[in-house]
Amino acid sequence: MTVVIEAEKLTKYYGKARGIIDVSFQVNEGELFGFIGPNGAGKSTTIRLFLGLIYPTSGKARIFGQDAIRNGPQLRQDIGYLPSEVFYYEGMKVIDLLKYSASFYKKDCTKRIYELADYMELELNRRIEDLSYGNKKKVGIVQGLLHSPRLLFLDEPTSGLDPLMQRKFFDLIRRENAQGVTVFFSSHILSEVQRLCNRVGIIREGRIVEIADIRTLQQNNYKKIRVYADGVEPNAFQLPGVTNIEKANNSIHFFYKGDINLIMRKLSEFNLMDITIEEPTLEEIFMHYYE
């Protein structure tokens, strides 16, 4: 498998303020990689380093096997970017902005501009300053995809899109991905990452805390166990691998990670009325990392 994005101990300080610290990960060709973290965790910093908008304090950033800083300008022929906040030259018409954008690339993008605009229901003859935020976002989507990039950086891309457009957008991203486009998708909304991505990296306070398949994260890591029984105290489940114990009325729920037989033996000691064992949602896994 070809590695498309590679961070190696990537570190960025803004003066003394922390950006990201020792971030390392790889994204393979054709992957839909989710990058999750709360605001201020370093998601945008990571993306902006790969795009050459900011420069690393130390560490390496590679794209298509080449140094993303030194060869950035050439590499960006094949990179599309959709920022979370879109701003364009206000006085321009949509079509002129898209043509200006297209003029930077070596290929003819005209046909694709019209296809994408048609698909996203974007009016091309309006002025940017007259557009609503959602419509500006559509300009951003077309703008980021018009040169048929092989790699896409999406930085919290769904804000401002209504649910219908969000779905269209996700379909579009899936379609691009099916044609081999690698996607790096940053978000703090877990459900959308869960819907779209195969693999996720979780970042917290500038450091990567986990990189895993979504399925692995959900299936192998944690079980959400809820037991209903009379007279059971939370202390009874204080054993290795149990976290987040909470008691509500006559039930106790907790996360369990480890040998499933151990917990089953423990549970058999009680006279249970009911039990549910679920895979946690990404949301819950995520919260777990942030406690």
Binding site: Q74, P83, E85, F87, Y88, Y89, S101
Partner: protein, 269 residues
């Protein structure tokens, strides 16, 4: 250089260029139109000015000025033109790259497959083209209106050409200092404020050094390096002063490229 960026930048600035050029051409027309009455009342004029406090005359660069000659009068008009052109060039300089961060369009432009050097070069070239256009209008207006209103009184076209040629380094100074300062600060909130501060500051420095006779201060300001009155009196520039402007321009240019190539672009909003 990117012709795409050049074309966009030039078109965006064109309206401002035309406005500045026309406004200053009108200024030249209005002032030179006053010249015949000054010349006719030459003696009266001299008596009147003699009663002015010398500090006031110095502030307007009129100490060694003979307003009754074409070239003397033109030097005074040219000072006003210079103030305008300084503000214009400083405005373009402070705005050149800071506009992308202020209006948050840097993310758009800088993620395109172009180097920072190409972006800065294209932007500078477009600004220079705008300034060249303005200066061409200044040449036309100066020669045109002076000839229209001098009523056969003698003037020195070579000296006037020399004065006008000085506008190239004069505006370059304000443009490049504007660019480098905009890259030294974190954020340029008001381009107009910075541009007026630089241009008027330099003008006042020149006027102030005339009043106090302080030699050190005047070395800093292009209003002294490219003083029309001096050119009229000496038939040429004080090249040691011109050299200061040239050095500043070169240093500011090198500094601008260095800073822009390594600049971290702040996140929008």
């Amino acid at each position: 250089m990117s012709t795409t960026i050049f074309a966009y930048e030039f078109r965006t600035r064109l309206r401002s260029v035309v406005t500045w050029a026309l406004a200053l051409a009108v200024l030249i027309a209005v002032y030179t139109a006053l010249f015949p009455s000054f010349a006719e009342e030459a003696e009266l004029m001299k008596q009147l000015l003699a009663n002015f406090p010398p500090e006031l005359l110095a502030a307007f660069g009129m100490t060694d000025l003979d307003l009754t000659t074409v070239m003397g009068f033109f030097s005074l008009v040219f000072l006003f033109v210079q103030v305008g052109l300084a503000v214009q060039a400083a405005h373009y300089g402070f705005d050149l790259v800071s506009v992308e961060e202020r209006e948050m369009t840097a993310d758009f432009l800088l993620t395109k497959p172009v180097t920072r050097t190409q972006i800065l070069t294209a932007k500078l070239a477009a600004a220079l083209a705008g300034l060249a256009l303005t200066q061409a209008v200044m040449w036309g207006a100066s020669f045109g209106f002076v000839n229209l209103f001098r009523e056969g009184r003698p003037y020195e076209p070579e000296v006037m050409a020399l004065i006008l040629a000085g506008l190239i380094p004069f505006q370059l100074f304000f443009l490049m200092v504007g660019v480098v300062v905009s890259l030294l600060v974190r954020r340029v909130r008001s381009v107009t404020f910075y541009a007026l501060a630089l241009a008027l500051g330099m003008y006042l420095l020149s006027a102030f050094s005339d009043i106090t006779g302080d030699v050190k201060l005047e070395n800093l300001t292009p209003f002294k390096h490219f003083d029309a009155t001096y050119v009229v009196q000496h038939g040429g520039y004080d090249l040691s002063l011109v050299a200061i402007s040239v050095v500043v321009i070169i240093l500011a240019t090198i500094g601008s490229y260095r800073l822009y190539r390594r600049r971290d672009i702040p996140t929008a909003a």
